[in-house]
Symmetry: none
């Protein structure tokens, strides 16, 4: 009826997507600042500049925005973690590891609100979102574990209880991220990555002084 500019549905869809993004952005802020429970719809819609009812046009629940935020984050993170491919014509394993670290850290530091959410997963008691974050983390841990196993097999790494070590390594990464989120003058992403990789590979011992008991 009205003049259909090229792809009318597209336009509508795009506008809808924009609105959605606008809400998600506001939600991310509010959740990061206040935590899931203290973040009220009122605050959220005020920050997004929309009406109460409008929110429910785009999301069914409060939980759904939260889940949606996390989902996107997990997808993005996933994209940035590439399996370490060991072969000729490949950069060294260390270089690939380093690249992974840097990509992930860069992403996280660029969206601190989101990172806050990821670090405090478990604060969403029932949503299944916590479970999903947990599952993602488990996935990463599994990936680390597999890498460990492969490294051991190839003789690149020493033997170890791969599950424990994988969990510990993942924890170490998270600890470092937490540090970089809170510290006043944070080191550069590269510096942090190097420090972490060296730690993981060689530990902190000055080896000549430590003899296995």
């Amino acid at each position: 009826m009205t003049q259909n500019s090229p792809e009318p549905e597209d336009r509508a869809t795009k506008q809808r997507d924009n609105r959605r993004r606008q809400i998600v952005a506001a939600a991310k802020e509010v959740f990061a600042e206040l935590g899931y429970h203290k973040a009220s719809i009122s605050e959220l819609i005020q920050r997004a500049g929309i009406a109460r009812g409008t929110f429910y046009l785009y999301f069914e629940h409060k939980r759904q925005v939260f889940d949606s935020i996390l989902n996107e984050a997990l997808v993005e993170l996933d994209k940035r973690i590439l399996p370490v491919d060991i072969g000729p014509d490949q950069p060294s394993a260390r270089a690939q590891l380093r690249a992974n670290f840097i990509r992930v850290l860069t992403y996280l530091l660029e969206d601190q609100a989101l990172t806050q959410l990821l670090l405090n997963h478990g604060l969403t008691p029932d949503s299944g979102a916590a479970d999903r974050v947990g599952a993602f983390y488990q996935g990463v841990i599994m990936m680390i574990r597999a890498s460990l196993a492969e490294g051991v097999e190839r003789g690149l790494l020493r033997k170890c209880h791969s599950e424990i070590v994988a969990s510990a390594l993942f924890g170490a990464i998270r600890g470092m991220v937490e540090y970089m989120m809170s510290a006043d003058k944070t080191p550069s992403v590269e510096e942090a990555a190097d420090e972490l990789i060296y730690l993981v590979l060689h530990g902190v011992a000055n080896s000549e002084h430590w003899i296995d008991e």
Copy 2:
């Protein structure tokens, strides 16, 4: 003056303490399962088998039970973390470290509900309790950092960015605890401690194959 049958006041005090403990136990469970916010007084008192008003005879607020739980935990943990004393006539640093680990891990694994709480701190942005847990963690990190610095000075440890590494190490410990809380067949506390210490000291590299780039 007259001989009082076995300390009547004592009995009352003991009863009161029992009730308190009963409430705290129930609260720990509920908080661990649901998180601070979703844990309702209704659920709590039902689980404790007491009436609504009774709860407020022992605690002023919902927050107060929570804080009380955390405080006790922090005190207990603090007791179990002894500074590593390096001197003649002392067990080796490694042995002291190991003993610390084992004490802490044992305590945490014995009270899993509490450990759940500690791991998910940050879920109570208003109670001040989260801040306290955070402060405790910071304290531990500082202690690690100081130990690192001392080790480096004595030539026992290699040079490193002590803040980053301390945060990472703390994360590693936490990661391991998380693992031990969730895994089906968990390794023994001793095994876990050994694995972690070795990891921290020497890393995972099979050193002959890694050359610094």
Copy 3:
């Protein structure tokens, strides 16, 4: 810009005002019947025919409705009490007094629930509203006192302890209002006003029989 059907914003505002009035009316009733403390929000909203949450859309606190009711009343009363202006071209002081009385009495008798509230001020020791009513009453007493003083100065009134007399006169007015609120067949407002004014001016003595002792 386009011709808006009769002021859409106006309509919304008017609706809001109506709701508000509806709540205030119910609140007035409930407060008058039960007093501030025993008046529960439950009773109030039931009487107003609204949902629990709706109440808090219009008022922040229980206290706020109460205060709001009193404030309006005090403003209205204030409007009806005009200073007695003695000058040429003015109605006689008695006539001005009489007019004041009649205006106030008429207002009070028209809204008996509200009058009940005003008479029983002091029943809300915490709201600050009681204080406000008290302050208003004090203001009226002061006005009476000032009028007395002026009257004495002009030789219109006999000398007296103006503070005591002002308080007593205010009490007399209040006593009369109470009477008119409770009596079955109340006299007309005019009759009451005349009676009160005569009492105030000349007392009840048949003067020929009373000699000062």
Copy 4:
């Protein structure tokens, strides 16, 4: 069994009465300070220095203490208000009136907590106590009215609408009491009584200047 000192029952009764009085005294304070509703049993028993249960050994309800306090007050007041007996060999009516005033005022000023309660009657929404105070006041008003009627009949007082005037006069008395409760430097009881009686009898007009309209 135990040695019965003279009138054992008497002793018990006396002790019981003492306890009761102790509670009533504390209650009077608390009610006067906080008002009926905000006065908690906790505060009351603390002030009385007794245990929670003990209170309910002497009174069935919170309301009952309150009623008991008011009852005693009304009885005491009643004792102090004597009918004005006009006859030969009697002090003048004015003197009798004056004596009544002085007795009542003295009593009220001696127990200000209680007076506060009486002035704020109506704050006990359901106890029947409010009704009882109201009834007492009505009784006093009736007495005033009867005195008025008799005075008119005897030609001592001018004709008037006795109900209105009685209510107003009662209000005047109450107003004066309120004044004396709050003012910083209150006049003596005698001065107040004289002022009030003169006001009631002759009003405030300087009669030569007022001509009935």
